[in-house]
Amino acid sequence: MITVTINGKEIKLEKAVTVLEAARSAGIKIPTLCWHEQLEKYGGCRLCLVEVEKMPRLQTACTLMVADGMIIRTETDTIAEVRRGVLEFLLINHPLDCPYCDKAGECELQDLVEKYGLTKGRFREQKRKVPEALEDPVLVRNMERCIVCTRCVRMCEGVQGASAISVINRGGHSHIEPFSGGRFDCEYCGNCVSVCPVGAIMSRLHRHSYRPWQLGSETKTVCPYCGVGCTVVVQVRDDIIKRVVPKLGTVVNNGLLCSRGRFGYEFVGNKERLTTPLIRKNGLLEPSTWEEAIRLIASRLSEIKDKHGSNAIAGIASPRCTNEDNYVFQKFMRVAVGTNNIDSTARTGFAGAQGFIENIFGQGATGNIISGLANSDAVFVIGGDPTTINPILGLQIRACSRRGGNILTVGHMKGLRYYTPLELRPSVNTEIALLEGIVSALMKKKGPPGSHPVLEARLKDLNAQEADLPRICGIQGKDFSRFIDTLAEAATPSFVIGKDMIQSKGGSYGLFLVSAINYIVNGRIYLLSERANEQGLLDMGCAPDLFPGYRPITYPEFRKRYENAWKTGLPDKPGLTIFEMMEAAKAGALKCIYVMGENPVFNLPHTKDVEAGLKNLSFLVVQDIFLTETAKMADVVLPALSWAEKDGTFTNMERRIQLVKKAVHREGMEDWKILSEISSNMGVRMNYSDAEEIFGEICRVSPLHRDLNYEEIEKGDAIYPYKGEPLRGSTDEIHIEKSAGREERGKLYLRVERPLFHSGTLSRKAPALVNICPEAVARISPATAAALSLKDGDIVRASSKTGALELPVAVDEAIDDSAVMLSNNFQGKGAFSLMEYEIDPVTKAPCLDSNQIILEKVNR
């Protein structure tokens, strides 16, 4: 126990911390400019100087460690005089353009100058003049204002790990610059903006259109983009979102955000948003009224139900909608329509993979705390770069490496390249063999743990052994044994599994092998999730085989329970998955699909097939915020409210239920409201007054959410399996289909790129993200480029069996020689339009990795 006295107040401390931290813990504020609680100590600004008895000079509180018996004073006349002097030096070059500067009002320098009463500068020379750097699409640098506290640089290097900016030059000329000197070309996380104490680096979004004190309302809510579920604060002036900022001290992201979260909010106020319901009349979508649209939908649904049976109708739910919306959606489909044909794009990977892993390890196996990754001593990454798919989770992996943990990757992860990963880069389509090799090597090294006999029984007949790997996968024995040694020695390893793994041929077998590795070394599994509420959607029962609460439909006792709760009979057969829906629609068995907040034409592979299926329907309803590709084909389009305009909850990938709150007012109806109106028109009354009431019902009927309410969620600890009990044990049987992709040397395969700046439909409507990354490019390796004599920016015609696109190429060293990476984010230029798929028999996910592609140069 250490006892120190700060300003006459006695403070007891468990362990030695810095004087600054000790003072903060006692509620004593010491001014700082270079110090920030997220960053490394720097000791550069000299503002935190304090008096320590028996020390001859003033000491910097941010670097001085407390010692027992220290007597410290933080505010004396001498200290004030010194701080005033420091500020005077800072103001030598700092322009006093506060009236123009957007930071004024929350500027730390301004506050300090006001506090220490600096009224006169004695410096008589000219101030440094640097023009504002406006080359970048989302960030503006004003280096006149920079006080070189290097917070941004330390943030960029030490926390974000992008190392895109650095201090340039020396002395009075030093300032911050990205490598190019103009555009940042970085990860655009914008975390430099949130740590900058002055207005030197600022966001260009809504620039000059607000002052901090004019932001009328602040709403703490959850980011709408990926499955990490970062807490964000939405700041609004006159119902326009002016900025989205992170909040220090939140559980998931603790003051950090990524590009999508910070700069991707502008879709909310986009002018292209739907405002009125549209009904197809004479082949054209025409504006109409809510009443007419709802009546039409209700009557058409009843008609189809009577004529063709309930199972001729299917519903596609949305991982971007709240739990409440999805709950009402599945209730609507099951009760009002009477079918289990409910699915979502979670079927493209997440749903199946989670079901598969939970089958082996029990429910909740994938719901691990994200910040726990930083405390692992080894992180095994496979199937996609986590730093682009779930950037904040990626930061935890980087933090793990910084703390001395080992990063093990299968395949090359560009975002982790400065984190000394041990990398195994198998040749194309041989991941399965590599994983088999790892399993057998680990089994030899560590032996079977013995606690899961079913799984171990399955490990008896592995095809590939360690000795085969150099031949099959082209992996050096030296690298491999280092990899195995590190993995075997790890005490708390974590496994991060991306979609590419799930969507490869033999994906379920691959998943099984990763699970086996996880089992042998006793690790934790993280399943990357691309959409905000992918997990919640499944929990709400928006799957053909699940009731709310992740309850299998096939168990009669669960069905009974829901029949009692909803006071109606329920269909007992599992419905169609989203891919089966498209098949059935093409075959004519399905007559109607109700789509809520999803864009299947764009977000499902084999676009042509999907389009043909949807065209074949006699009735298509789309409920969305934009007129998407799917909405353009619909018979009725209903405008919904976006994430910022409604209340509800999202469940993130670690299974934390978090509140989404209304930040902006907009005329219109929430998704659940629209559905309950239609339902009431069909004769099944649903009277919900608000989202909280729906959540109340969810908590009553779903055993997963038992005893929860909004107040408890607000406290931030709503993680389930609630109260720690797993709700479904592991099963006795593990289904495996052994199959693996075939390698054909010299061919190019199309791979889905999952870029940092886009997520699909929403990000396309956010101008800032489009400005950062404006067009689709096909990424190829230097070797491919050389073989096809292509260079950066050349236009190519990329053709596969299902179509062809013309787009520019970019040469990227991070890409495998046999791969062509194309993202699925730009209208008419999506990778999915070039892809065919097969369905994995176990996970029901599409296998996308055997799509060959041919690139030809187009001469213009």
């Binding site: 006093l96 009236p99 123009y100 009463g117 009224t119 500068g121 504002e132 000059h208 004019q214």
Partner: protein, 187 residues
């Protein structure tokens, strides 16, 4: 006593006293003015209708810093700015709900550029609210109307020396007069 009172009552002495006062007042000049025919000259620094100042080039001085709106105790100043073509800040809307203004003059005091002014004009009334909702154009027109010529210069010379002048002088890294005064007080 009683007799005195009786005499007062029967001879109406009080009425005579009163009439004497009336007679005297008849020949003294009047205290009141015959408003609206006669108007009282306003004292310098009078706080009347608002106007937005223009500089020598005839351009609006306001840069949209929003300090007036932040300071305003009745919260009746609305400012909307945006990024202009040349990436400078431009003031799109500057609006004052005059009917809610309490004429405290804090906005004038807060303004670092001497952009918002209170003119000597006080005669404005109307049958609806709209004419008294001052927009940017109306406020700029007020400047031309009430601060034409020398008058505007005098206003700033005599009363509201804008704070920005403190910034421009070279011993001028000076910033907050308020703080300066406070420090003087402490010493």
């Amino acid at each position: 006593m009683r007799a005195g009172k009786f005499i007062q009552t029967i001879f109406f002495t009080e009425i005579i006293k009163g009439m004497a006062l009336t007679l005297r007042t008849l020949f003294t000049p009047p205290v009141t003015r015959r408003y609206p025919k006669v108007k009282r000259p306003v004292k310098p620094g009078f706080r009347g209708l608002h106007a937005l100042a223009k500089n020598e080039e005839g351009k609006m001085k306001c840069v949209g810093c929003g300090l007036c709106g932040a300071y305003c105790p009745s919260q009746c100043i609305y400012i909307y700015t945006s990024e202009g073509e040349d990436h400078k800040k431009i003031v799109d809307r500057y609006e004052i709900e005059v009917l809610r203004c309490v004429y405290c003059g804090f906005c004038v005091e807060a303004c670092p550029f001497g952009a918002i002014t209170l003119s000597e004009h006080y005669e404005y009334s109307d049958y609806s609210r709209e004419p008294l909702y001052m927009t940017k154009d109306k406020l700029l027109a007020n400047w031309d109307r009430y601060f034409a010529g020398e008058k505007g210069l005098r206003y700033f010379r005599d009363f509201w020396r804008p704070k920005a002048e403190n910034f421009s002088a070279y011993e001028g890294q000076a910033m907050f007069d308020k703080v300066k005064a406070r420090r003087k007080e402490q010493k």
